[in-house]
């Protein structure tokens, strides 16, 4: 599929519009749900950490530290990607699958348009902006944790800010964005594959979306493990 995608590329003037449309559909339209989830999950991570720090000898700045580590290392890149496998992934599979069922892909092929290039390539390019979403998720996750910790009375403002600065390893950000870019590629290709090569009718479009979500999640989880082993150990 990936090799065929680069044969007979669509005119740049058309491709530019397709990429902008995909950025709107996949990136901009995902911002709302990502912001909402990140903010509240960050808050919950801070509260859970605070509630588990029962020993008075453990410093309260650990709430900020734990929130930062959880959000940057796992929550934002991996957890958000699993959610996006459901949101973006099923959108991609169902939209391409519907085009297959309604013969729109055949229409493109009959006209001489490389349908893989027309449908899949703009999605891959658009998802190069996926790290932008994850950056926002990181910020809002930590901000949610800050508000929950400070205004929930679990830590002072100074303690939380100390916590998010302590033992900061810049490579963790690099690690998170390497994972993010890898997941972005998975998010564009696996759902596209399941949509493009599906057979059957409307019912099969729904099934293909579900199967695509399962496989995208499985591959993200496995890749997360492999990349963590390679980059952090």
């Amino acid at each position: 599929m990936l090799k065929d995608m680069f044969n007979r590329p669509v005119k740049w003037s058309v491709m530019k519009q397709l990429i902008l449309k995909e950025i709107d559909d996949l990136i901009i339209d995902s911002l709302g749900i990502v912001c909402f989830i990140s903010f509240f999950v960050g808050g919950v991570v801070a509260i859970q950490t605070a509630l588990n720090l029962t020993n008075p000898l453990i410093p309260r700045y650990l709430i900020g530290f734990a929130t930062r580590q959880s959000v940057i290392l796992e929550f934002a890149p991996t957890f958000i990607s699993i959610i996006m496998a459901g949101k973006m992934g099923s959108f991609i599979t169902s939209s391409i699958g519907t085009m297959r069922v309604t013969e729109q892909i055949d229409a493109l092929e009959v006209m001489g348009v490389n349908s893989l290039n027309y449908l899949v390539f703009p999605k891959i390019v658009a998802l190069f902006l996926y790290p932008f979403i994850i950056g926002i998720a990181m910020f809002l996750g930590i901000f949610g944790g800050y508000l929950a910790a400070v205004y929930g009375g679990f830590a002072s403002q100074a303690e939380f800010i100390d916590g998010i600065q302590i033992n900061f390893i810049p490579f963790h950000i690099t690690y998170a964005f390497i994972k993010t870019l890898s997941f972005a590629f998975i998010l564009a290709t696996i759902p596209s594959f399941h949509g493009y090569y599906m057979k059957g009718g409307a019912l099969e479009v729904g099934k293909a979306s579900t199967v695509s979500f399962v496989w995208t999640s499985v591959v993200i989880i496995l890749l997360n493990y492999i990349l963590t082993q390679i980059l952090l150990s």
């Binding site: 007979r8 669509v10 005119k11 058309v14 449309k21 519907t98 309604t102 013969e103 729109q104 055949d106 229409a107 092929e109 009959v110 006209m111 001489g112 348009v113």
Partner: protein, 274 residues
């Protein structure tokens, strides 16, 4: 604003002076163990509406998709004028595809585009026309298929008959030499179906296109069947015109075409000279 086609001199040098456009020779297509096309040979001429008819499962759709190159044939040749499809390289196939218009059974319009954008799509993809030139051409074709009121609507906002007309407009916008229609009347009421049939026939004659229609609508057969190819179990069981189909005694054709009482009575009336 001419959308007529220029034919090569070779076209007219055919020994029988037939404007031969598509020649199919002994094509076969198999899916797994099942042989769907079992050696079909026929020709489709320019300026005529040719109909491929037959029961469901007779191989009509596979046949038309084989002509379009969507299915690769296992045996035989398909020639568009003197160009044999199987011997063409990628660029030649691409060029040929730009000469083909296709009307799909479900119209296959792009949901995210308006009527105007759908029709202008082939021009935008394959020509270097300016947006102004594309608009002029699209406006001309929209007027030709009587769709002026639907310019800025999405396919989901127009009726089935209008969607078919948009599909026809999209198929002819880039001056095709060949027009393929897969069940263009399916799901339409008889009056709209007749409008679509007549529109296809008018366009075929007006612009001298080679049109092949896949149908099992007997009204279309009686209305526009200048050449009729009857498929049965992957083979051509009968070929002729709409006039000849009334007089044929081919059992398979009679059983299929005159299965309804109405058509039986029409046939009897024709045979009795009424």
């Amino acid at each position: 604003m001419d959308i007529s086609c220029n034919y090569s001199p070779k076209l007219y040098s055919h020994p029988n002076f037939v404007k031969l456009m598509i020649e199919v020779k002994n094509i076969e297509k198999r899916f797994g163990d099942q042989k769907v096309l079992k050696g079909i040979s026929t020709t489709f001429e320019a300026g005529k509406t040719s109909l491929v008819i037959g029961q469901s499962g007779s191989g009509k759709t596979v046949f038309i998709k084989s002509l379009l190159g969507i299915h690769e044939i296992d045996k035989g040749t398909i020639a568009f004028n003197d160009r044999i499809y199987g011997k063409m390289n990628k660029d030649e196939k691409r060029e040929l595809r730009s000469e083909i218009g296709m009307v799909f059974q479900g119209s296959a319009l792009f949901d995210s585009l308006t009527v105007e954008e759908n029709i202008g799509f082939p021009l935008k993809m394959f020509t270097n026309k300016t947006p102004k030139e594309i608009k002029e051409r699209v406006d001309f074709v929209i007027e030709r298929v009587n769709l002026v009121e639907a310019h800025h609507k999405k396919p989901s906002e127009i009726s089935g008959g209008m969607q078919k007309r948009v599909a026809i407009a999209r198929a002819i916008v880039n001056n095709p030499k060949y027009l393929f229609c897969d069940e263009p009347n399916s799901g339409l009421d008889p009056k709209t179906a007749t409008v679509i049939d007549n529109l296809i026939q008018e366009i075929t004659r007006e612009y001298n296109i080679t049109t092949v229609i896949n149908t099992h609508d007997m009204n279309s057969v009686m209305e526009i069947g200048e050449k009729i190819v009857f498929l049965k179990k992957g083979l051509i069981a009968w070929e002729g015109t709409k006039e000849e189909i009334f007089r044929t005694d081919n059992k398979a054709v009679v059983d299929f075409v005159y299965s309804s009482n109405l058509f039986k009575k029409v046939r009897e009336a024709v045979l009795n000279g009424h």
